[in-house]
Amino acid sequence: MEATSSDLQRTPLYAEHLSLRAKMIGFSGWEMPIYYTSIVTEHRAVRERAGIFDISHMGEVEVSGPSAQEWLNSMLTNNLARLEIGEGQYTLMLNERGGVIDDLIIYRRFEETYLLVINAAKIAEDVAWLQDHCPEGITVADQSRLFAAVAVQGPKASELFKAIAELPPRNHIAKFTIGGVPSLVARTGYTGEDGFESFFPAETATAVWSTFLELGESFGLSPCGLGARDTLRMEACYPLNGSDLNAQTTPLEAGLAAFVDLKKTDFVGRDVLVQQQANGLTRRLAALKLAPKSAPPRAHYPIYFGTKQVGELTSGTQSPSLGTGIGLGYVEIEFSKPGQALTVDVRGRKFPATVEKKPLYKRAC
């Protein structure tokens, strides 16, 4: 599982993580902090105050040129025509079979210039896919190496940012100067809390990181690792590509129909989705909550109804906010509705679980 450190890339904040005594692990080809103190401590910091995450491993791709919108609309599931300049949306890039290549956030930066923020493990694949399909006159530029990025998440995130400016509205992106560094700031995140993600030149990463840590000091801002990022996103029921999404799962099965505009005349994978919708889904990504005191569920544990296996978990953990096991998994459609009682097999022992409405955790306001 864990690759040796020599195979792994390091973000520009690597030295900062070491000086904070982070526990480092291999993730998607990157050597990243899994936690600094403990996953639960950092999870709570984000739910109660604010946390800062190094997300420099994520990819940034700029697509520009006349008719960039029209072309990108043919490559992605959501409808870009809805975006004003400075606005972003969650969307998916599919293969011809309707399976997920990547899920991403796309921002409209200028009239015909878009910024795509993509998953670390998928940078090479996404860029190659886009460039292979790219018509003349449109540029697909992989800027992943140029950018470092952090996410600041939690109920105190917007207050903390007030020392610089008011945050842009939800899903919007704008340029600010942070610690003397021109940075893009987007009101988005992967934790289920309010917050923002900031993108800035790689060589300025330490300056921006330190500026946020200083600004955050009086708000109890804590550095947080990938461990808390994973437990937070599972409570919020945000899928993780490579675990909950892959080339064999469609966004309809994953419960992401809100980010798929089938009214668009065409996009890669559309025909399969239209067909799937007409025929009816056979399975769906369900959110499960286990009975109190159950063993923590993990990815690949089988899901049962009685003695019949009806699915498999794709993600699972002990939820720090709910104090019980939670998981996401594809379940046969007739067993996937909220309220359905199921069991999860942990090392041969079946623990009771219920299908819940998503998200499993929702912030107070």
């Binding site: 899994i34 936690y35 403990s38 996953i39 639960v40 999870h43 461990g227 437990t231 005191k293 159950s294 063993a295 923590p296 993990r298 953990t317 002990q318 720090p320 090392r347």
Partner: protein, 128 residues
């Protein structure tokens, strides 16, 4: 890191305290609990189960992952720490005390010589 002098240690970070009449208590070391962090579930062996040394005998789960716990010696399980069912975090807070995992009747006291003393275990974890 606390490494009590009166315990025996396995390379896989379990400790063993030999009590009277050939019964030993097994737990995980402070170093091990610090590496695991946030222990949320412990799966313990049934009393009466016979195990051999280095056999996976219990499972300790943190938020992050499930970890097998290996019996340092061969023998029969005589007791499992029922308190961990309601309070698994005891393994974090009192790894050498209330956070013990199970007791085992030693089959062969000779196996004790395969385990490390405190100094050797300290050297293993790089703790002076």
């Amino acid at each position: 890191m606390l490494v009590p002098e009166d315990l025996k240690y396995a390379e896989t970070h379990e400790w063993l305290r030999v009590d009277t009449d050939n019964v030993g208590t097994v737990g995980i070391t402070e170093h091990a609990q610090a590496e695991l962090t946030d222990i949320v579930y412990v799966e313990l062996p049934q009393v009466g189960t016979k195990v051999t040394a280095k056999q996976a005998t219990a499972v300790v789960e943190s938020v992050k992952a499930a970890s097998d716990i290996y019996s340092p010696v061969s023998g029969e399980i005589t007791e499992a720490n029922a308190e961990l069912e309601s309070n698994p975090a005891l393994v974090n807070t009192e790894p050498y005390g209330k956070g013990w995992l199970f007791k085992i009747r030693l089959q062969d006291k000779g196996e004790l010589s395969n385990l490390k003393d405190a100094a050797a275990y300290r050297a293993q974890i790089g703790d002076e």
